[in-house]
């Protein structure tokens, strides 16, 4: 599973705002220049990003195989023609370039995921969206990261329990209903407990998030991002 892993790579040391800005700039430039030349440059930038995050592209591609299957469906569907000659390979060129663009953007985003802890992402959200809205979103995102394993375990246990009681022989709608009802009951039980726990710990609008600051190492990345944005509007 692709998730944050501690490390000392260049990408680990970058400010989260820089990494988000670079990702967005790469995406904008990629959409503005989905041409063979543009994709060649995008490939080089993706390679630099992966190297800076100490990531092996083969391992990342293995993890993303399901998305890759979906991504290749564009060219496959495009070559089919309803009528003679039935298959027209020329029609696959533009979808193939669009699919390759998505592949590069997926790889770039994995580098962010792998090198950025949630507390840094939360601080970046609160910087990008000032005020209580940003704080609320930061708080909510932090909670989602913490609660996801709990909810995954709840749903997994429920599904095993349903299957163990001849669940696989029940009609599908009944299995879905049982699983969803069980999950919702546990969720609403947790609402009470967690709300009380957060209030007991004096949940406030002014929490202590990690201080953010651009370092010397951020400047080349920011120059790259501004360069890509400039290239996108040319």
């Amino acid at each position: 599973m692709l998730s944050y892993a501690p490390g000392s790579s260049v990408a680990h040391r970058l400010d989260p705002r820089t990494k988000l800005f670079v990702q967005i700039a790469i995406a904008i430039a990629a959409f503005a220049h989905t041409t063979p030349r543009g994709l060649l440059i995008l490939t080089a930038i993706t390679g630099i990003v992966l190297v800076s995050a100490d990531l092996d592209p083969r391992g990342v591609l293995r993890e993303l195989r399901w998305l890759l299957v979906l991504t290749t469906m564009g060219p496959v569907f495009s070559v089919l023609v309803f009528g003679p000659p039935w298959i027209d390979l020329y029609r696959a060129i533009d979808p193939a370039m669009a699919s390759y663009r998505v592949l590069c953007l997926l790889l770039v985003s994995v580098a962010y995921v792998r090198t950025t802890p949630v507390r840094d992402s939360r601080a970046a959200i609160e910087w990008f969206i000032p005020g209580r809205l940003g704080r609320g979103l930061g708080l909510g995102v932090g909670l989602v990261f913490r609660l996801l394993p709990v909810l995954l375990a709840d749903v997994s246990r429920l599904r095993m329990a349903i299957d163990a009681r001849a669940g696989t022989q029940r009609p599908l709608h009944d299995r879905i209903r049982r699983l969803t009802l069980g999950s919702l009951r546990r969720l609403f039980d947790r609402v009470e407990t967690l709300t009380m726990a957060l209030q007991a710990r004096c949940l406030s609008w002014n929490p202590t998030t990690p201080p953010l600051g651009f370092e010397v190492i951020d400047w080349p990345a920011l120059v790259l991002a501004f360069g890509l944005l400039g290239w996108a509007v040319v």
Binding site: V102, S109, Y112, T116, V144, S204
Partner: protein, 194 residues
């Protein structure tokens, strides 16, 4: 922290805390439901419960917090929580094959919530008629699949026919099942939004 600092602590109100917790838990449930898949007869595509979670967010949390739960789901996924299908995450997924569907989720939850509840003050959805629930859920589904199909055309350069076939038609039997499940769950009185 000094004594003067402690007076500056700005506590989050009880009702707001409860709503943020409900939205965050629902966002995490959406992430968990995205990993649950069932094979359905006569369809090449297995179904996940992800959109059922969106439907229930709109119905049980209402337009504001249902939409908020979906926004938290997307934001957490974009920032690295493995909440998307097959435990994927990252901004790249948002501009990938499923990007259109993902961006439509908060809009669908808001629309479903507005149709079911009538306005932003919540009512007990189990007291709403089947017609109203059905109208909300069908509207939400139309929004999600329209955005999904448009997303495939824009992001992956699909043809219209290809996008509708691969991005909507194969999933419609599963969506009908989820809509029926959502109505059954809400009308069963078996749960009430805390």
């Amino acid at each position: 922290m000094t004594a003067s600092d402690s007076s500056q602590v700005d506590l989050v109100g009880a009702e707001l805390t409860r709503n943020i917790v409900r939205a965050a838990l629902f966002a995490a449930l959406l992430g968990a439901f995205s990993q649950v898949s069932f094979s359905i007869p006569f369809s090449p595509a297995p179904i996940t419960l992800q959109l059922l979670g969106v439907y229930l967010a709109g119905i049980l949390l209402g337009p504001v917090w249902g939409g908020g739960a979906c926004v938290l789901y997307l934001l957490a996924g974009a920032l690295g929580a493995p909440v998307f299908a097959e435990r994927a995450s990252g901004l790249g997924v948002m501009v990938g094959p499923t990007g259109g569907y993902l961006f439509a989720m908060p809009i669908a939850a808001v629309i479903i919530g507005m149709i079911v509840h009538g306005n932003t003050s919540l009512v007990d959805p189990s007291q709403r008629g089947v017609g109203r629930l059905l109208a909300g859920l069908i509207s939400g589904t139309v929004v999600i699949y329209t955005c999904g199909v448009v997303g495939m055309m824009v992001l992956l350069d699909f043809t219209v026919q290809g996008a509708i076939t691969a991005g909507a038609l194969v999933f419609l039997p599963g969506e009908a099942l989820k809509i029926a499940a959502a109505i059954g769950i809400v009308r069963s009185d078996a749960i009430t939004a805390a």
